[in-house]
């Protein structure tokens, strides 16, 4: 068995080392899994495809950031909420609703070429995401209904709503009855920042937002408020912080950002609204936020790491005929190991055997 001895001070070395240990453990587990499921294949080759290949080819490399951008934006919003102990677990729903609303603007103005179109779509995405999350905020503030359950239930609702829209008002009239919207025209598409790839302006927006959030949390009173509300709710009350305000702000911020990410996905890589919009990014962003230790700058890195598991994972799927779910397994394992390794920061872990020797 194991015994935990609390450290007097959090171990600074372990703050840096524990994510690395978690990564190594995940890689080792992946190795064991591959040895079991793949016959006659050199596992080192699989590892190369998974971890190195995305960096060797400019298309794969750009895809890394195409996938990281939405994760960054959603993960950023979630990390702010999680800090305050507000669990917006249904970001997927806000993401989908944001995509629908933004696309609705694009479809409505499909014959208009204008520079204001894209900003308008972005605003629609943000506002609708905010609105969707505000349902949970309202119910939590007014009736103390748990926001985890409300946001989650609403994410299922959002997916049905998307399907209803794509077979109704937003369906392409000349699309042979496929449940897809019209293709967006040029002024409704996100500008590409790397010629020849799908890498769009969303990445730049994501990075700017991360720094704004970092600054906001560090310098602004609100940052203090959410931090204390999460770690010491009683102290927050004594300090006169308004609990309800924290709930509203964090859910509006995370909902708005998820909505923006949804619109970026429709106006970016997809170029239209499709049933494929709910891509699980809203849930994966939860992992991104935790891997970043809920830090806005950390989100920049953890989102790329998770994107690597997507891009490398896709290559492995194609090369070795593996299902998509393999990526999800690794992401889940990574989060398990990461959470587990954090024990090393606050505690010394000692096996019972060694205790007997030291006594």
């Amino acid at each position: 068995m194991i015994k935990l001895i609390p450290r007097v001070e959090n171990s600074k070395a372990m703050i840096l080392l524990s994510p690395i240990i978690a990564l190594i453990l995940t890689a080792l587990s992946a190795f064991v899994i591959f040895v079991f499921i793949l016959e006659d294949v050199k596992v080192s080759n699989v590892f190369f495809t998974l971890f190195v290949e995305p960096f060797t080819d400019s298309y794969y490399f750009s895809e890394l950031f195409v996938k990281a951008a939405p994760l960054m934006i959603i993960g950023l919003g979630l990390s702010i909420g999680f800090r305050a102990g507000i669990w917006n677990i249904g970001a997927e729903g806000q993401y989908v609703v944001g995509g629908i609303a933004g696309s609705a603007v694009a479809v409505y103005f499909y014959d208009v070429e204008a520079v204001w179109l894209l900003p308008l779509m972005a605003i629609a995405g943000i506002l609708s995401g905010m609105f969707y999350a505000s349902i949970a905020a309202f119910l939590r503030v007014k009736y103390q209904v748990n926001e985890i359950l409300v946001t989650l239930m609403l994410s299922y609702v959002a997916v049905f709503f998307l399907s209803a829209m794509l077979q109704g008002p937003l369906q392409d009239p000349s699309g042979f009855n496929f449940p897809e919207s019209r293709m967006f025209h040029d002024s409704a598409l996100l500008p590409i920042i790397w010629e020849g790839t799908r890498l769009h302006i969303g990445l730049v927006v994501a990075i700017i937002l991360s720094f704004i959030a970092w600054f906001g949390i560090k310098k602004h009173m609100f940052g203090m408020q959410i931090k204390i509300s999460g770690s010491a709710p009683r102290a927050a009350k004594f300090a006169g912080f308004d609990d309800n305000k924290t709930v509203w702000y964090t859910l509006l911020i995370s909902g708005g950002l998820a909505g923006l990410a949804g619109l970026f996905e429709a106006a970016g890589p997809a170029g239209q609204l499709t049933p494929g919009l709910p891509s699980f990014y809203g849930f994966t962003a939860i992992i991104v936020a935790f891997l970043a230790r809920l830090h806005p700058i950390g989100v920049l890195f953890s989102s790329v790491l998770i994107a690597l598991s997507y891009v490398g994972g896709e290559n492995v799927q194609i090369d070795y005929d593996l299902p998509k779910s393999i990526t999800q397994i690794f992401q889940g394992m990574l989060l398990f190991y990461f959470l587990a390794c954090d024990i090393l920061i606050k505690y010394k872990v000692i096996l019972f055997k060694t205790i007997r020797q030291t006594l």
């Binding site: 999800q328 989060l335 398990f336 959470l339």
Partner: protein
């Protein structure tokens, strides 16, 4: 509306509520011990998969149900180890469990997506099931349906009529005090988490072994989360789980029948109803409550326990 249809609807509601009863009654015990496990959805889907796989290969329904119980417990033990020994955040760990369970079952289940199995047959209790009306309504269910209702009784009996149940509730309300008078907090919580896993596993298996003879990676469709909502709805009282599950099952079945009846609402909007209903039920419960704080909630729910002694 004819009698046959009515009987069909009532039977349908009972069957739709069973997976929720299993999953929610397990989670209720877990939460009574002071632990919040958000991995119910993940444990259910693993149970659904293992039940299906074992039924497919052996054709033995008993083994299939046991496999689902076992699978739910194994995956719950990951959560138990992390939260009880490595003191991880329960919300995050539960979410990880759900994400992992969904991924794992989709991965393993890939080989079975085109297969079908023999469903577990209904029991048709001799003589009693032949009584008109009462027979089909009460005595012609699958054995697992009776087990679900029996488990609710058993949990109630355990929590409120046994010494161990009292200790478990005490641990959930004040783990420090319970520890101080010599109770093993961690052991009780471990067993509670494993029980929660077993029940979620059976609940999932009910979907793949009784409701539909196929495996699909999204077959739980949020029922694990709805079960979590039912525990809140029940105010942590076992028998109220049944009430909540029947309410939810009723909405599920009615929307299915409405889709059959050419009502002019598209299927997508009707399919939203069970999820919206869960929210409405949670809200209406709080609207009726007199005081703001939920008094029946176990005090230590979600709090980390670590003894230095």
């Amino acid at each position: 509306m004819n009698e046959g249809l009515l009987i069909d609807i009532i039977i349908g509601i009972s069957i739709a509520s069973v997976p929720l009863i299993f999953a929610a009654i397990g989670e209720l015990v877990v939460e009574r011990s002071g632990v919040l496990n958000l991995g119910v959805e993940g444990m259910m889907i693993v149970g659904a998969l293992l039940g299906f796989v074992v039924q497919f290969h052996t054709g033995n329904s008993y083994l299939a149900v046991l496999a689902a119980v076992f699978g739910g417990m194994v995956i719950a033990s990951i959560f138990a180890f992390l939260t009880q020994f490595l003191l991880t955040n329960q919300v995050a760990t539960g979410l990880a469990l759900t994400l992992f369970g969904l991924g794992f079952s989709a991965f393993v289940g890939r080989a079975y997506t085109e297969e079908t199995i023999q469903l577990i047959a209904s029991s048709n209790i001799p003589l009693l099931s032949d009584i008109p009306l009462v027979g089909p309504l009460l005595f012609s269910y699958n054995p697992l349906v009776y087990l679900a209702f029996f488990m609710v009784y058993l949990v109630w009996w355990f929590l409120f009529k046994t010494k161990q149940g009292l200790i478990l509730r005490a641990i959930g309300d004040n783990h420090d005090a319970a520890h101080a008078i010599g109770h093993n907090v961690i052991r009780y919580r471990l067993l509670a988490i494993l029980f929660g896993g077993a029940m979620a596993g059976i609940g999932g298996a009910f979907l793949s072994l009784v409701q539909v003879p196929i495996w699909g990676e999204d077959m739980t469709a949020g029922r694990g989360w709805i079960a979590l909502g039912l525990v809140v709805f029940s105010s942590w009282q076992p028998f109220r789980v049944i009430l909540g599950a029947i309410l939810f099952g009723g909405i599920t079945i009615l929307q299915l029948h409405a889709q059959g009846f050419d009502i002019r609402i598209s299927a997508q909007y009707l399919s939203m109803l069970p999820y919206l209903a869960t929210i409405v039920i949670l809200v209406s419960l709080r609207m009726g409550a007199k005081n703001k704080t939920n008094r029946t909630m176990p005090n230590c729910l979600g709090r980390i326990f670590h003894s230095t002694t």
